[in-house]
Symmetry: none
Subunit: 255 residues, 2 copies
């Protein structure tokens, strides 16, 4: 049947190779190249996307954005979903508060949303978030060596600096959120900083888009139970929510 017969796995490996080299792939081209129907290619791509090996787009697929990519890149990904999470999160910020905003694309959305509130102070280790807030609120910049992947200062200097703060509210950015593993970061230094500031804060809050929920990442930050509030999307699986609420975490639904 297959003129140049490929096993499914072979084909998908070839697609991955093409993605790695050119960064993009068209369904039509692939169908022609492997002499299968576009339907089959689409099935492949769907499968691969589910495994995080590519990003499905209309017409083909793109190389996956590495989760360690500068978080600004990810800010563009699902703006309206992040925006609704941000709107929900911002409601917990009250006048007079000292808020710590961790580095994350959703927190950047929060920073943009924050415009209306006055009389608050925000501390952050992320230059992009700081830029967005500079002329809106009183701002404390956490310095140190900037990690390119995280997009924020995370070194020893940053650690000792955040240890001087005592925020009323800490909004963590998370790589993954899972009932057992807790809130996770991508590397150790980032996790360490998140842990320190979270422990020093009067309350801790996190936002989680669907794809982050249930994801376990290598380094945990704090146990789920230590996070007071979690903002999730409306259509989040009821089971996931039950697991998290069972730990005493207040789950907030974004509009």
């Amino acid at each position: 049947m297959n003129a140049s017969d490929f096993l499914v796995q072979e084909r998908q490996v070839r697609i991955r190779e093409k993605l790695a080299t050119s960064g993009r792939v068209l369904a039509g081209d692939l169908a022609l190249e492997f002499s299968v129907s576009e339907d089959t290619i689409r099935r492949d791509l769907r499968e691969m996307a589910a495994a995080g090996l590519c990003r499905r787009v209309y017409g083909g697929a793109l190389a996956p954005v590495p989760p360690t990519a500068p978080f600004m890149e990810r800010a563009a990904e699902q703006p309206e979903r992040k925006h609704s999470l941000a709107r929900a999160a911002v409601q917990f910020i009250e006048q007079g508060m000292l808020v710590f905003l961790d580095a994350s694309s959703t927190n950047l959305a929060i920073a943009r949303e924050i415009s209306s509130i006055s009389g608050i102070t925000v501390a952050t280790n992320a230059p992009l978030i700081a830029s967005a807030l500079m002329d809106k609120v009183d701002l404390i910049l956490i310095g140190g060596t900037v990690d390119r992947r995280v997009g924020a200062a995370v070194g020893g200097k940053a650690l000792s600096d955040v240890a001087l703060l005592r925020p009323d509210l800490c909004i963590l950015g998370a790589c993954g959120v899972e009932a057992q593993a807790g809130i996770t970061a991508f590397h150790l230094e980032d996790a360490e900083l998140k842990r320190v500031i979270a422990r020093r804060s009067r309350s801790v809050m996190t936002t989680a888009t669907a794809e982050k929920l249930g994801t376990a990442a290598p380094h945990d930050v704090i146990a789920m139970a230590e996070c007071g509030r979690l903002v999730v999307e409306q259509d989040t699986a009821a089971e996931t929510i039950r697991d998290i609420e069972a730990l005493g975490v207040e789950v907030i639904f974004a509009a």
Copy 2:
């Protein structure tokens, strides 16, 4: 259908790149470049604007600059003049250097220009400059309380942090540059920080657009003679240049 077919996402990424480099984009040009109708381009731009990735304007779009400290408002003023100063200044940055970039609109232009150089480390107290450099160079962020007028950290914390650095090159932003008064800042804390970092640097450089030259501001930073190099525009008055060169400062003309 598409002669040089682009996926939608690819096109938008390209537009973002163009925006990042040139700061502006015309709908007509883009339509031609990607061989789609202007309607499509407009839809893209509208979408991107909704995500905060650009600002829609009549005829095209501009790079997003929602935040701007007072000093940054001037960044948009005469982009091409600042750009040429920046190009001239960047040539003095060499591989392996530790460069301190002070808060100023011209320094933001320098940060944007710096893309090509590799193997350098930049330290800055300005979030906007840090944002621009984040994924280009090794970055040291100077923390502290951010002064809204300056657009950078200038408090006691920032002061003690810069005292730990020993840059090869320090590029100062100036409110005014005058042979007698020297390089001046707008308020005391800013001046103090500039002075400390300038004294600690192996070499000091400043850029001055025409309107800054000869301007005396309330607080001086360092005497003109302590500044090794001054980058000025081509059409600067010969008399001004003579006064400054008389103090042993090397004057560089921007192309």
